[in-house]
Amino acid sequence: MNEYLLILVGTVLVNNFVLVQFLGLCPFMGVSNKLSASIGMAGATTFVLTLSAISAYLVETYLLAPLGLTYLRTISFILVIAAVVQFTEMVVRKSSPLLYEVLGIYLPLITTNCAVLGVALLNVRQANGFIESALYGFGAAAGFSIVMILFSSMRERLAVADVPESFKGAPIGLITAGIMSLAFMGFTGLI
């Protein structure tokens, strides 16, 4: 039980995928203008990350490893992720047309979110078991969601703040992200 907790804390805070490992920065900057959209994005990414971590583990353990085809890892994981994203898109479109409109192009772009492929590959490198893989994926997604929601709340306030002309928009966003990243470095000694 304790090790599972450690995996969660480790992925959410200490090795946060966005702010410490710098994976998945495109949705982090792209969809963080509005809080509602980023909550939706966080939900969709959580779903995709967890599901793709599980399916990537299954593909690796039961297909690639027994056949000695581990060199096909990257391409098969990309296949897995693309399929899971497509599936998520169908589910979101059916269950919440409004969210589908809000997310727009960013929903299919989860395919190219490097955090998703990163989680799948890191799972293999750390030789995680089934439950560890699922938890690792979920923890990464939870970390992504927390950072995403915090950052978009800040950006909503930044939009009305008195920012110097040349820093308006993306520059102040990048500076804020940098400071947040510094703050997350403070969790380093936690585990």
């Binding site: 593909v59 297909l63 690639l64 056949l67 000695g68 085809l69 096909l72 391409i75 098969s76 296949l79 897995v80 399929a83 497509q86 599936f87 169908m90 589910v91 479109r93 059916k94 047309p97």
Partner: protein, 182 residues
């Protein structure tokens, strides 16, 4: 080599099957034709077509219950566009539904005659009339669709339908006269 090809193909086939199943299972109901028809309709929500609004009329057209010539605010242009979309012959407007206005109009309340009865507010389909009981009412001109629905309920006949004045932002080049192009 062969094993690799077979493995990847099998993987892709499995995902293809799963996605195909999901596409059927999570199929989105929704008629894109209704949206296209609704886009052509003028959105006055006037009800002259005998349907409660533009969207129900669009659904009726798509379902084959209504003809395309029941929308006077859309005018002949609207009928022609609908005919093009649906691949039918354009036909003149049905006189039972009213006549097309030559110019777009906007409602105007003569405010010193208004008695504050709120009847026109209840009639307005787009909430463009502002006022309260015993208070003078007025029309938000940008919201008014010129549907005439507020005129009959008014007990003191203080609502005029004025043609929209040409301004820099509303003026359009007049359409070429019929017959000249041919």
């Amino acid at each position: 080599m062969i094993a690799a090809i077979i493995a990847l193909t099998a993987l892709a086939t499995v995902f293809g099957l799963v996605l195909g199943f999901a596409a059927v299972r999570f199929k989105v109901e929704g008629d894109p034709l209704v949206d296209q028809i609704d886009k052509i309709l003028p959105q006055t929500q006037c009800g002259q077509c005998n349907y409660p609004g533009c969207r129900p009329y669009a659904e009726a057209i798509a379902g084959g219950d209504a003809d395309i010539n029941q929308c006077p605010p859309g005018g002949e242009d609207g009928v022609i566009k609908l005919a093009e979309l649906l691949g039918r012959e354009p036909k003149p407007l049905n006189p039972d539904n009213g006549v097309a206005k030559p110019l777009p109009t906007v409602a105007f309340i003569r405010e010193d005659e208004c008695i504050g009865c709120t009847l026109c507010i209840q009639a307005c389909p787009v909430d463009a009339i502002l006022g309260a009981r015993q208070q003078m009412h007025t029309v938000i001109a940008e919201e008014c669709t010129g549907c005439d629905l507020c005129v009959p309920p008014c007990p003191v006949d203080c609502i005029d339908m004025l043609p929209v004045a040409d301004e820099v932002s509303t003026w359009r080049w007049p359409a070429p006269e019929q017959g000249q192009a041919a």
